[in-house]
Subunit: 341 residues, 2 copies
Amino acid sequence: MAKKDASARASATSYDVARRAGVSQSAVSRCFRPGASVAPATRARIMAVAGELGYQPNAIAQQLITRRSNMVAVVISNLTNLYYPEVLAEISQRLSARDIRVLLFALQTESDVDAVLDQIWRYRVDGAIVAARLSTGQLRQFAVRQVPLVLYNRIGEEEPVASVCFDSTGGARQLVAGLVEARHCHFGIIAGPEDSYVGEERVRAATDELRSHGFEPLLVRGQFDYAGGDRGLRQLMLMSDSKLEAVICANDLMAIGAIDCARHAFSIAVPERLSVVGFDGVGPATWASYQVTTVRQPVRRMAEAAIEMLLERIERPDLPPERRLFGGQLLPGSSARLGPA
Amino acid sequence: MAKKDASARASATSYDVARRAGVSQSAVSRCFRPGASVAPATRARIMAVAGELGYQPNAIAQQLITRRSNMVAVVISNLTNLYYPEVLAEISQRLSARDIRVLLFALQTESDVDAVLDQIWRYRVDGAIVAARLSTGQLRQFAVRQVPLVLYNRIGEEEPVASVCFDSTGGARQLVAGLVEARHCHFGIIAGPEDSYVGEERVRAATDELRSHGFEPLLVRGQFDYAGGDRGLRQLMLMSDSKLEAVICANDLMAIGAIDCARHAFSIAVPERLSVVGFDGVGPATWASYQVTTVRQPVRRMAEAAIEMLLERIERPDLPPERRLFGGQLLPGSSARLGPA
DNA sequence: TTGAAAGCGGTACCAA
DNA sequence: TTGGTACCGCTTTCAA
């Protein structure tokens, strides 16, 4: 059976180009591979025809033969978190710059992970950057299937996995130290859901640090959002008999919710009567109405590191797991009194 | 040359499964195609082996042969806009639910579009949802290459293209009507960059509506972000000789910037002395410190519509361009006096 | 119900 | 520098 005519298909193939340029298909292929040997005249003719036909090599076919998809799966748990869009934008742009495409998986709930992993295997991505909780079994699958993986702000709990994390502990120390120095005595912590790695680490670090100074914080939990901060503060107010002096929130969004709640629902002046601190350094944290005292994650450096680690592991799958920890920068803001001076 | 052993490759192929199950490769393939005829016993044996080997059909090979990638390109101009993460999350989740993957292209600047389009052609995506400005030439390419396309909050300027848009005009009318009824007389508009379609439409609609009431607004421009709103208000204050009574911002983020600027930089009470309104209805607009008077875009419905339109066009490429316009819901908020009562 | 075989659109090796 | 050819891993006739 004769080959189908080019016009029948949506896009031209290397055969179409070859025929019209009067060369072999191999020649066309070589023209699109940097460093291949093609006579200048031949190349010119081929490229001219390719231009006419709007020929672009079919990435799918390339992937099949080279076993390289030039795609990386990016798995993100909740894009509406305000912090993640920034991460995603960074990762996406940096991967594009390296000529790698992003296959995006935005999870609504973390329970969707298994379905996502199935797709990841099927698409034979070159690697994955995951900002979602993975079970040990799920982590093992990456190893078994030899798909390079870098976790973002998560860790492999039972086995080591390459990961890029924010140093919540260091951040928490700085915040607590400042609050203690400013002579706050009654502390509250608004934590996120227990299954959040970064969240728990922040809470644990803050708690430890407070205890080392002889303080025992009140603890409440909520979602990592504005409403979570609002509700958290209400609970703390009830529990503390209104003696609360400082609140440490697991992220900026909660801190903002808590600040608004304090000011508008309880008419408590922030920071005069109540100090509120957060984590992340997201955009809204710097808005004039809040100026949240927080610790900023170096998102760009972390995104870059995640990509570097992933690309290294794509080239050399045998590289050992490595964990890179990034310290944050204290943004003093004005939602808390940090002392002294 | 003998076939390579399965263990040499990262993942099992249908041949590996076939060999171990003692059937032909075709049989394995059929097992994974719903509605194919396979004897129950055969299927059971094959599936058992597939399970052991962790076999998953290679999506790449399937794409090549079926000419269906089950991937949709999603192009978004600035993910950091606060409004887009919500859109992206919706689109991504709804496509996943339909077993379609998202190939994400997050543009830093709109000038990257050509490079992105090249990738889109090469990956032979089934279609594209684009929330970025496309030139007429670029739009034509989609037509020529027969890649179904749906624009999100953009339109084809010189030729009709399937698109889903927010009805900025209707929204602007509602906002302006309310402001005029409340007897504001001196208006300012903080617009976005001129190359933004939605932004310009909002500005034009607001201007027209104001003129129809006999008012001529002052106009300034900036980026669609917090700083843009801040700077915009400062400029308006200079231009208006402090007579400014109402400011219409091209989006909520600018409105928030303007509100903060009014209150903190100029000590102007909002809404008592100055009314500020925005567009979109993003999360922060509802925060207690702002409660922006705005018009909310029905993001979920719009995302759903975009996907429906795209899928229809993937099935039936000959469908004519259609433009679906979604009205917004006025959120009265408390950043503006809308009248009367 | 099953297996053989012909592609899908490329890459890369080999001989000319 | 070129063209021929054997794959990559799957889907899909077509016979058996």
